[in-house]
Symmetry: D2
């Protein structure tokens, strides 16, 4: 079941995958580098016996892919074996890590996740049971949706600001916890509700109990809008909204903010599909399929070295010439990160005879780093970081380009505007990140 859940959420991380299972007495683990289907085969799954399990797909950062960082992380502490799966990114983790090391702790991985285990394993924490867990949560800063598994219970935690999604589902008498509802759908579980920001959910043989780690004091949520724009699957319900519907609305707002006279609206499939519908409906300009995806695109395609003459070939998309030839074309996509792939596709359209090309992006220019779990490239590589709209248009070789405003974004979701994080577009971080920004800028200079 956990295997299916990971498979449905493979888009959330392709670097590594793992499952830890409890049979009530002990925990068994399998983790590995690669996709869920690479890491697990029938014998591997057959060996993972038990009645409770947690899984993880790891979202790889550019450099170090090391199986040691694969999750769930399974260790022994005085309470026995414990496993943890973590979505998000802590801030100020280094300081806490330094402190632990100064007291003699050793670290096997470079993940924040191991730090959380160290905090939980402290005798002073354990002694105080659930209060201890709450205490640890209070000390953590940043984004963390966590699943913990011991022989006897599963604990689900979402940070007080709720940066990352976490949902609760039910399948018969069993509880299911996942990042996205598409995982519940695949295992035919029913979506019950989101784990609330700051909530700790305990699940054991007696069922589910819940506490809040924020107590009396109210913390404003900072739910990540990039999930809605780009990261989550369109069939998922995230922060209470169906992602596809949010994206259709983004397209509508985009059409209102950046109208243009044209003959056809096409999507960059599949990322721009939902917003394209909204743009076409709002503008009244007919939609067509200008790009066709190659369904066999995967990780193993090699670009043979002797193929110099055809480097830069786009093996993923091809243009339907008849759709764009001699036409004024609006191309809708969800975001532009580095811009080189987009520019290649715009050139393809131009070569196939498009008369005008207008690009519309269903979010603002992405200009700032994320410290809460989305791994953008450094500012130097981020196309919009130091370009204004005209600079972006020129780089992309477009007749016009339009990005949705932050207001447009916030008008497309159902929650109160102040409950969302828009830092990667606005640069307004919810906590003091000067220290990190400094380091980020330093990184740029190298």
């Amino acid at each position: 079941m956990t295997y299916f859940g990971l498979y449905a959420q493979q888009h959330r991380g392709e670097e590594a995958a793992g499952i830890v299972v409890s049979d009530g007495r002990t925990l068994a683990s399998r983790v590995g580098l690669g996709h869920v289907t690479d890491v697990f085969n029938e014998p591997a799954l057959a060996r993972l016996k038990g009645h409770a399990a947690i899984g993880h797909v790891r979202y790889g950062t550019a450099g170090g892919s090391d199986v040691k960082n694969a999750q769930p992380l399974l260790v022994d502490y005085s309470g026995g074996p414990i496993a943890i799966a973590h979505n998000g990114n802590l801030v100020e983790a280094d300081a806490i890590r330094d402190e632990f090391e100064a007291h003699g702790s050793i670290f096997h991985t470079t993940t924040d996740t191991e730090l959380i285990i160290h905090m939980l394993a402290k005798p002073s924490v354990l002694m105080r049971g659930r209060e201890g867990v709450k205490e640890v949560m209070a000390a953590l800063k940043g984004a963390y949706s966590l699943l913990l598994l011991t022989a006897e219970q599963m604990i689900a935690v979402r940070d007080p600001q709720g940066f990352r999604p976490l949902v609760l589902g039910k399948l018969g008498h069993s509880w299911v916890v996942a990042s996205e509802t598409c995982a519940l759908d695949l295992v035919k579980a029913r979506y019950v509700r989101d784990v609330a920001p700051g909530e700790i959910v305990f699940i054991d043989e007696n069922g589910l109990t819940s506490e809040s780690c924020v107590g009396e004091k109210r913390v404003r949520p900072h739910q990540c809008l990039f999930e809605q724009v780009y990261f989550a699957r369109p069939d998922s319900v995230v922060f209470g909204d169906t992602v596809h519907e949010v994206r259709v609305m983004l397209g509508r707002h985009l059409a209102r903010e950046h109208p243009v006279s044209a003959d056809v609206v096409i999507s960059v499939p599949d990322s721009g599909n939902s917003a394209t519908i909204g743009y076409a409906r709002e503008s009244g300009i007919p939609e067509d399929r200008g790009f066709i995806r190659n369904h066999y695109v995967g990780r193993t395609f090699i670009q043979p070295q002797q193929a110099d003459r055809i480097t830069g070939v786009d093996v993923k998309l091809n243009v339907v010439r008849t759709v764009v030839k001699g036409r004024r074309v609006i191309v809708v996509d969800d975001s532009i990160i580095r811009g080189t792939t987009s520019r290649g596709r715009i050139r393809m359209l131009r070569k196939c005879g498009a008369r005008e090309i207008h690009m519309r992006i269903s979010c603002p220019p992405t200009r700032f780093p994320c410290f809460y779990g989305i791994d953008f490239p450094t500012t130097t590589e981020l196309l919009a970081a130091e370009r204004d709209i005209e600079g972006l248009r020129k780089f992309l070789e477009l007749d016009s380009v339009g990005y949705l405003s932050i207001e447009g974004l916030l008008s497309s979701v159902s929650g109160p505007k102040e409950n969302y994080c828009t830092a990667c577009w606005s640069g307004e971080y919810c906590v003091n990140v000067d220290r990190h920004l400094g380091r980020f800028k330093a990184k740029r200079k190298r």
Copy 2:
């Protein structure tokens, strides 16, 4: 370059892949089971040095996947090494094979393709050069688009009825031959024209020359419409028409033939995408994305045995609940073969709250076997083989079902209606196939 061409045409065959290359003196080969990306890696490609090459992706028949049947087939005959890649299916091949065996020939594979080589290698054929090749073509019956490669030349052949596509492209001063134009696009070659039915094209250091194997007598083409409906990529130009545009027209005709009052039109992605556009435009009913594809669907997903409770899970598509809930939904797809997958998806829609479900299929019910290269299941498994429309509707648990008529089909392509093969829908075969039909029916009884 050939590797890229195969990659672009992977959809035409997933069972095996291969490339044979000529360096002017001899031929080198690599073939293997699996996808193009499974069979080739950098060292394998680096070993294939030369200036001319042919490749093949094999479309697997249910039973025997054996690497011996992988193509191109490379053998030695009195003229030296020769390789052949074959798309299509011969009829009456068994009789010719029996005759060869009676004269002492041995066969290493069970393919028609080896038979063609035996015919070409006959001294009486070789002695007569190009005339000999034409003579062999005259003796062959059925569907064959062929590529032959010797150390000195490449020969492209398309059968007189032109069942399967074959196109000529140009890249600089080099010629490129492929089944579909999407292969030309990927290697940035320019589409020149189709190889004509009955044409033999010779390419060597002196360039390209062409002859017709049909001579004076005129043979009516029988170009396979299933290519347009289902098999070819939408971005390809097949038999002179852009496949996507043909499919949009199929959708328009479908809307005219089978209108229904509804709230939304959705596609079964990606097979129904183009026809859905036509249906929506013609009917005026808004299109939306009711199904979302899992991009990680591949061959290696395992259905763990212990997952009894969730068997029959559709790992490929999920429903966007908000698109269909409480609505009257039209679902468009390109064809239905066995029907079980379609029924599962209709049930998903129903479970997600669709009020009415009307399915529209952009071709007639597929009722008859193909003897020219499309591998349909036996009649017993073919949903429409022995069901009328009402039977189909009931099986699929639909509120209504509508299949496009043959007339609708033929109105969507630009060639003369009599130039297309519609046998799998009409049962009208262009040659006497009683013998095969008998065998086909016999197979059913077992």
Copy 3:
């Protein structure tokens, strides 16, 4: 170079292999399950750049082969990255581990090795530099030959009783440390001397310095004689003696202790080769090759299930019929653990016509568990554990059997007799192991 060293010492552990390398600034690691040649290929080695490295081959215990337990273990502590490779087995490790856990430490592996790192990482230890290391060594009980690697230095440690071997070599200006001299030979390094029991060797850019962790007090060494009898390669110099020569002497003593009238002496290759020479020379009975090894014996041979009729087939050795037929045969081997393989071979000899079969074993009956790093099976499986000589002879279906005495053993090595551990034969352990023996016996009862 380290790769070669591991390859030469592959016989010391086949379960897992690994290398950690320092480039002066940081450490890079590769570990994996399987043989050295499974874990490393050219790209993997190319990625391990630096000027200092340690490696490890893991000697698998029956049950849990988990890549997490593969060594060298690489972690971060307050001093930066540190790696450790450990040969041997600690006693009373569980108690220390419990104590660490009680103070909040977490453990990623089930190895003793991780415990040593925890001890080293304690602030109180680190603060005291080399003294700290000595302090830790003083607290450890059991067998440990260790290699530690940090960015700046390598540390080699051998426990005060010197259970396991550890040698120092020199290659140009570089130092090499290994378990056996055969590793030095392969990399063309010169054997310098053994690391002494209780010695700590520090190697950095300033060269080599050494200290003793035992200080004034004299600890009697307990060097493992099973290394000489069975474990080490015959071409290695272990504890100052060439293993092959020791084994030839074992054979001589064996012939003196257990003479028998016979026609030929044969070895169980290759384990009995050296002792056979000694036995033949001392007895004057000619040696011949009665068994032939299949050189392709490896781990991947499968015993197909349908092959019921030929189960129990010995794929490793075959008899040379002419050597044994009608003869009185003395068979020499180094040890008998479970006895089933030996019995199978004796039956083969009998079937090939041997008239009498006399087995001679170049060590005493192995009756007791080893707590210092040799992984014998439990007593139930240990053939000699509860059988007297007559019982052994009957089980093995021999005409006579003779085991070398402990005195014979000790007379074959050059060191003072009290400097060797003979616990697995005598049951005389150098430290109090009652607790372990109890557990060992408890294990038997299950």
Copy 4:
């Protein structure tokens, strides 16, 4: 069973392996590149169901390892499916092949084996049943021990000169055919007799019948002595003699022909093991083990590029220093082909302190090519091809070298001297091979 038989005979060919099995109705096949254990796993063997099977291990020639050449070769002819496994090498095969091609035949492989099938499949041959088979055998020249399998019967053939071995065994009521008796031993079959030179054995449900293809005329056998010297396993009975005993005799004759005063005789393991016994016994000089084999030597060991300093390392053998230091050493091996490996080992001995080194080789200098199935390198690479004894001694850096004479060789086997082939040493071929020798010399010049 066949899998075990191949495993026992793995030394006869490491390039490819395969099995074809008959269930009485049809044949199923699995062949692949690599060792027997690489090609077969449990599922692969489980799929090969039937009551009769033939297998093959392919002895790779330097250049083209192509799975197409793997055997048994399975094809269809007018009589149905047929499979063939071939040991040996035909002469004048090219001419017959050319003739077949001239008549229109095509060849999928570059093996002689396929040619034999073509000859058997000729209608004129088949029509005449067993007589036809005999007729084909009469037309073949060169070395061939064959196994043919059809749905109904198995046929074993040995060429009239009996170059290669072929033995008959019995297991219960079943017949077993193999190249060497070590295969019979492993499957616990009983050795019955050799298939005679020129004999054809038919095995079907009625049992075994036999005919001779040589008829009245007597053909002198030319059994390959290189099998006895080098190729066969010492535990096999080949041409009526136990290989180990023959080699012991070779060693005795060697001692008589090339005595030398020395302290110790050592073997190059395992190739020189048997002859070393003979040399030591005859000379009275004690034998010792001067070289130790690394048991993990296999095909996958990589020589990392950065390891410049230790190139030429001998990962297979290491010297036991105490055995050779200060001593006059006789080193016995079975043959020297290129000489570079031997020279490396002699240098190792010298470096370890050997005072004198005398090499003794248990066959004459190998100077001529083999056209009957042993793949020697070209003359340029063959050490002895153009060197006299003094030249060999100098190249090998020895104090003395002695090769056994042809007379010594022939005195060590039990058959009449004229029944053996010694061409690779004497240059006396049994048939006219001028044409081949010419080509062989031509090859040298390049």
